[in-house]
Subunit: 306 residues, 2 copies
């Protein structure tokens, strides 16, 4: 007997990862497939706000999968961002908007596009199958695009994302700008988090060539607020660097109102940040003007300079 | 000034690789993009038959590309099957039906499906963009699906491929069964080829884990005909094994009428064939009953047993 196909986004899930899992599960169910929406970690504050707002249950938390488990990956494809034993899974489909960083020994359905959010691709899949997302699903999709594109202001934003937001806002009957700002602000509330939690909220393991790194991004409406914790954050980062044998830990504190990021860089390859952006770290930190997108403004430039 | 985007299929091109390049170029042109259909090698007999039949010019032969050249890959994604300096290219899109075997440092459009032929995916792309292939383009697409699926008899054949053939045959106004058999037979004519040419006609470099291999497939209507050249074929294979430092050279002589393959296996890891299929090579050769698909019946089982 074949069990359900598990659908999940990346570790340290954000709003796109959680909602893509729910939305893809809706689409697959409508297509007659037996699936279960899953997640690989705790909800962040922003996603909690979204699920509460629309009264939706979170996907099921899973920690490992059986050998040969059939899975669908959304919002990620790299094994380093997936469930620990992903190499034992049978990947049926991938729907994503990131660089390609996985291999298979078999052909499969892969749909990636260089757009701001997985949901923008998922909206196309609904249409291609002659379907329309219902009001609740559209609300989730809309939330994720606002989250990933910082209200369509991030340089990752494409015309497809803008069109999708307009279309989804109409189905969802939501004033997306006021809703979106409230949602983003909810995501910046760090008050209930320990330092360890802040450092893992949106942490991605990324190797810039041979430089083994973690890049963690924390959104805020006020950089100074977060920088008050600088000493504690650095101590926490040093601990993770040692435990994970990292060459670099970059913490991006991203001002979602003014679209800048304060970076704290630690590790033996911290100077890579200076080389990549032509800046000087002072006391391990520097403001990167206009930098808000890890995918578009950090990964390529750091990789190129590594 | 940005030059045209080059579109090409894999090295040692087959009918799918050549026609996918032409068909994708048609689609991209209709979408307003400036592209050039290219190919990475000589036409095989089958593809020559197809292009002559419909009076179509072959894509432009290219041997290398400039740094940063924008490219679209069809019918392949692995760098080992692509143009030699593919790592310097900017890959805009991939449309394919093979396993995933490439990496990027940037997000891109990827569309792969586990179907029998790239053209089956391309037909979906036409529809998703509100377009229909014209009669000539439909004829090319139809030819490639017949070629890749051996007239819908290969185990790689899916319902999508069958539906596509029906739809395309109607647009093309072709009796696809009689046309298809003639086309496949044209592809089995080896009379004008040297041994070196036969051994490179449809050769793919594939590593089964650490076993560095070439798997070459030659279609025939009569295995005995080809086996008359066995001594010369083996001498040629030994030469390539030495030059390329291969661990294994598998030559599949595939009977397209009865759906079997005679395999000749040479190299220090030839016994992998025995292990994978539970057979004994006699004088380096054995008949693999029912095996016609390199992708579905060779690559996975050889990889698993390596």
């Amino acid at each position: 007997m074949m069990s359900k196909t598990y659908i999940f986004g990346h570790k340290s899930p954000d709003t796109d990862s959680i909602t893509s899992s729910l939305v893809m599960a809706d689409l697959e169910t409508k297509l007659g497939n037996d699936v279960l929406a899953c997640r690989l970690g705790s909800l962040n504050k922003e996603t909690e706000y979204v699920l509460n707002y629309f009264d939706i249950e979170a996907p099921e938390l899973i920690e490992k999968i059986e050998d040969e488990q059939q899975v669908i990956l959304v919002d990620h494809n790299s094994p380093s961002e997936s469930i620990d034993n992903i190499e034992n899974a049978k990947i049926l489909k991938v729907v994503d908007h990131h660089k390609i960083a996985f291999e298979t020994s078999y052909p499969l359905f892969v749909r990636t596009e260089p757009v701001g959010c997985t949901e923008t691709v998922l909206l196309k899949l609904y249409k291609e199958n002659g379907l329309t997302p219902d009001k609740t699903i559209a609300s989730l999709m809309l939330s994720a695009i606002i989250s990933d594109t910082l209200l369509l202001k991030s340089p990752t934003t494409t015309e497809d994302d803008k069109d999708a937001v307009k279309e989804l806002a109409e189905i969802a009957e939501i004033d997306y700008e006021s809703y979106g700002l409230e949602m983003l602000k909810a995501g910046t509330d760090l008050s209930s988090f320990s330092i360890e939690e802040i450092l893992s909220l949106d942490a991605k393991q990324i190797d810039f060539k041979d430089v083994k790194s973690i890049v963690n991004q924390v959104n805020t409406a006020d950089i100074a607020d977060v920088m008050e914790m600088k000493d504690d954050l650095e101590a926490g980062m040093e601990k993770i660097i040692e435990e994970e044998e990292l060459d670099l830990f970059m913490l991006l504190i991203t001002d979602i109102v003014n679209s800048n990021s304060q970076v704290i860089a630690l590790g033996k390859d911290a100077a890579l940040v200076e080389k990549a952006y032509g800046v000087k770290l002072a006391d391990n930190t520097v403001l990167l003007e206009g930098v808000v997108s890890r995918k578009k403004q950090v990964v390529p430039i750091m990789t190129e300079n590594a």
